[in-house]
Symmetry: C2
Subunit: 458 residues, 2 copies
Amino acid sequence: MDSLRSAVGADAVRTDDASLDKYGRDETEDLHFPPSVVVLPSSQREVAAVMGLASHEQVPVTPRGGGTGLSGGALPVRGGILLSLERLDRIRRIDPVDMIAEVEAGVVTAHLQEEVELQGLFYPPDPASRESCFIGGNIAEDSAGPRSCKYGTTRHFVLGLEAVLADGTPITTGAAVRKNAAGYDLTQLLVGSEGTLAVVTAAQLRLLALPKARLTLGLPFQRCDEAANSVAEIFRRGFQPAACEFMEQAAILAAAMKVDVPPQVRECEAFLLLEFDGDRPDLLIEQAAALDAITDQLGATETLVAETEVEQRRMWQIRSAAGEAVKGLSDYKEADTVVPRASIGALLQGAHEIADRHRIRAICYGHAGDGNLHVNLLRGGLELSDWQRRRDSAEDDLFALVVRMGGTVTGEHGIGWTQRRHLEKVRSPEEIHLMNSIKRAFDPTGILNPGKVIPDSY
Amino acid sequence: MDSLRSAVGADAVRTDDASLDKYGRDETEDLHFPPSVVVLPSSQREVAAVMGLASHEQVPVTPRGGGTGLSGGALPVRGGILLSLERLDRIRRIDPVDMIAEVEAGVVTAHLQEEVELQGLFYPPDPASRESCFIGGNIAEDSAGPRSCKYGTTRHFVLGLEAVLADGTPITTGAAVRKNAAGYDLTQLLVGSEGTLAVVTAAQLRLLALPKARLTLGLPFQRCDEAANSVAEIFRRGFQPAACEFMEQAAILAAAMKVDVPPQVRECEAFLLLEFDGDRPDLLIEQAAALDAITDQLGATETLVAETEVEQRRMWQIRSAAGEAVKGLSDYKEADTVVPRASIGALLQGAHEIADRHRIRAICYGHAGDGNLHVNLLRGGLELSDWQRRRDSAEDDLFALVVRMGGTVTGEHGIGWTQRRHLEKVRSPEEIHLMNSIKRAFDPTGILNPGKVIPDSY
């Protein structure tokens, strides 16, 4: 402790109960793993010092961003040091000419977005937790959100990283340039590695020009399958929405307990929310009209158009409220399923059949444009052991279905701690051995975020 | 040889002089490294059999795509087996609903593009060699081209891979889905690894809707610096061209020896070629008008507009002809420099100052929208030893300048064989050690494309 205190300052080393409790949780279910100590470095140099000490003493270190993770990636499951990046919160540079930002890992995603927008620039990745999650956490998990269906996930915006290896060595990867073929792409390898290969301390991010206009559309459906099947059809016809979100009735009704939901949405079986963006409002209106002209064929009952910012916020809040509202209904387990876009309908039907078979409740919503459906299994009034058994069997059946459809077990939440047993459903032993060899190349003694991503049997 | 013949068929094993000569070259300068044997497998199974034998006998294997590489990545510099992927040439699937293609490594890039376009789909990456290069080679090098300034490089379109490890183990990475956070991203690690980690045999690629219209614009400038400085300004003003290419006068004049160049282009100091794409021709015309309205401020003498396909092809061929035309002038060395977009002007000026200082000729052109400038150093009438000395010193000075500007030593050609000594200019020893550890994790005995990417001293 003394050496930690002299490395980062006494104020940055916490062992009080409140801190250990707080930093022992993230937003993954009700899991709780208090660390031995919480350390709050303020610079890459201090992160390097902490890692040097931890490496010398062979103490586990779990890096943490905003604590909004959904697969337990930031839980210190083996105790030791919880390394919070919250004090590395500087936006070092926003370059409006090169359209690049350089930010520290602890910058809140929404804060970066607001700052670049002031300069007419745009950083698209928009995880649901964007008001509190950190860029560093987004990089660790390759976070996404509604807009990734047009713009791609966090990965697509990361040009270079500043990081610290397990032994305390600082490294930089990539550069603030738009093309780079110099050696293996360590930048892209670190993105999505969930803090197990290195501690990311800063990133160079690609920015776009801010679209000058947005238009949000809502399509209520009387049939769930028609809503789901419309998704691929909309893209196939050449529409390029910036977001294409799906909610089934139970998710809408849960949201309606928190926010205003207009009657025609509250009463529908399923709802698609689409957003178009661009530089000219008149063209967005034309897009809306073109979509409206085919809603009959798609099976939607009408086209709700939100033109003003207030109307758009009101429509978006239905979708935004759904996650927390559904999870507030009872204990839950969320499966972050992804299938090819055209299979969303079959996945939805299969998910409910599986839930019915296991006599458990499932509520679905998600980023349909990416084929990414969040299937929430709910405990309701079930006994604990009964819930655990049904939940695990249902989840296994669900992922088996996803794999048969050519899909994957997580689109944006990561493997972390809670999804490790599912990694083997989509990756062969040879591939997981390769991942493990990469892990050992970066962190030979395994002190960095131990217990995550790779199953213990490897 | 007998075991190779029984693995892939006698017809697929070549040791005749013509084959050894042909497969001992790619398009990198005048380098020539004949292999001991050329093997032409027809399936992933046969690739696995060849790798199994090579691994057992510890024979080097160099995978080869279309042979259009510019850094010697496919040259069998340590002899052994040259493994050509040319017979894995099937487009397995084009799915117009999911907007995904699954193709084998030996499919010619332009062929894939034509096939997906028949279905109203679009595969953007367009390396200059697209009529003969392979998708597998594009993946190995993370190839790009003019359109990457809007759409990104090959990497951005690869969702999953089928590959064979050095010991003959077949693996698959990723999946045909648009989001995937399941474990380390081996797909992105293999992209750009230049055939040193695994032999890619097939890929799942993301497709877009084909833009219905294109418009090509030419801006001639009387001052080179004004042309270069216009690049960042055009993007900063919110224009989002699909391509933004730069040529200086010497490159234009070289092209003019091969193709028709209109007088106002032939006589300018520098030329920017822009392409806009979208679904509505009228909007592209509006974009052209908006750009035309600022050309005076930018310093361009006029705006040449190519509306018809014939006019567009004619304008593009000026740019397309430049590469071969410049390289046809004499022996050459091409530096694939990248800097932040706004520094293109300073780089151009610096490149010529360096060339002047070393009394050597330099001709520049490239993908200015990505900050990617191809600087060709020309031998002209220099004695061999004199040329080698000046070339190497000039290249060192040039890359030192690029690094001072925050750039990198290759944007799209890769490190391969010829650029290895420059890798250390942009990556620290720690990072190259990490790359080497990754190499060893995939290929412990180093039989796969030995001598490439990582300098021998590691």
